[in-house]
Symmetry: C2
Subunit: 236 residues, 2 copies
């Protein structure tokens, strides 16, 4: 079945620009601050488990991450960490919030090629207050007809988004680095999906692809391969 | 000029449900924790000035408020605050994020009356991750045809919202407790606005109404007065 794709949607974090490396860089700066109190293995384990546990309260994003890190720092040090070190964690958060956006190497040339033939869309999840300024600072605003920030990427959140804009899922293709957030929900609605693994994808984001959706699912190594894949698909 | 209003939009925080009292209750719990280090006047001044200053980094919302409080606590105590007290601030934040929604007394009967004659809309600002669960927990979801969370309420953000849904500003009325966020931007686009002061409106939110917009601007004491005002307006 040759698809008739109208709209190509992109995840942003770790699909168009680097994000996860910024989080792991901050964790790497915090480990030495907490090293007097615990082993590196325990520090990492507490940080990650609080981060996942707190998604329920905070959702995704930098402020959530920093609040979790403060909590982890107190827990790991058994309340012995001096409050000037807590302030250091808060400052690292502000640095993250204002950091320069690092586009992936293939982002701009790929969007350039595709924007003449397709309607492009940006669908991120997380904190609206954080994602909106990032999209502006990225310099990519002009490429996208539609931009949306969701609290979570589920079949129902994609479904309301597509119906809001009157987009048929069969003519919709989503590109992203998370099987769980970008790929599986779109396939479940009858859409098309292209998975581009990021070097260090978060294990929380894994999911498997059902056999029945495999003809609408593709995996490529980097964004630069997307235009050729699309040419191949529509000329099948 | 008798208006022909189709869509009535409501601010949520301190218009449909109580919010500011939750923030001031938390501040009241933090003042005794910081009392050993500074006078109440200085504590309040530092807390408020950090909160305003940090809007630039964090935007609005509970997570932003808590991050600012942690910073203020370290600053006020000159880094002497023990980290178990920092943890207490973090816990107060989680309590705020999961607190029961306290509707204003007139909210439900007013929405009941208006929903049969108008399309209702909810427009909040702040943190999508915080506002979306609050809207769900409020039990008011069913009243609203449109729901939107904006990072900030400016003439341009209202204008894109209205054009996205094809709403003519002259047929749009906004109801809220902030002259700056709910009233002035909507009047500037040619829309109608009803101001309902909340008992302790935040001074950051003040603004004045230009003479040229005064015929589209009304002030009432509480939400329960809105249906009568609308009847009066359309029968002018």
């Amino acid at each position: 079945m040759a698809p008739n794709i109208d709209v190509i949607a992109f995840d942003a974090d770790d699909t168009l620009w680097h994000t996860e490396s910024m989080y792991s860089n901050v964790e790497a700066k915090i480990i030495p601050i907490l090293a007097p109190y615990q082993s590196q293995a325990i520090i990492e384990q507490v940080m990650h488990s609080n981060e996942i546990h707190n998604l329920e309260f905070y959702g995704y994003g930098i402020k959530s991450f920093i609040l979790s890190l403060v909590e982890s720092a107190v827990e790991i040090s058994q309340s012995r960490i001096p409050s000037c070190d807590i302030l250091r964690i808060i400052e690292l958060g502000k640095e993250m919030l204002t950091a320069k956006i690092q586009l992936l190497e293939q982002t701009q040339p790929t969007l350039d090629k595709l924007s003449s033939s397709y309607q492009l869309m940006l669908i991120t999840k997380g904190d609206l207050n954080e994602q909106e300024p990032k999209i502006k600072r990225s310099g990519l605003l002009g490429y996208f007809k539609y931009i949306d920030v969701l609290t979570d990427k589920t079949p129902s959140s994609y479904s309301s988004l597509l119906s809001r804009y009157g987009i048929n899922p069969a003519q919709f293709l989503m590109v992203g680095n998370s099987l769980r957030s970008d790929i599986a929900p779109v396939l479940s609605l009858g859409g098309w999906a292209v998975y581009i693994p990021y070097s260090s994808s978060w294990s929380h984001e894994n999911a498997s692809i059902p056999e029945s959706s495999k003809e609408r699912y593709y995996e490529i190594k980097h964004l630069g391969e997307l235009p050729d894949l699309l040419n191949h698909l529509v000329n099948q």
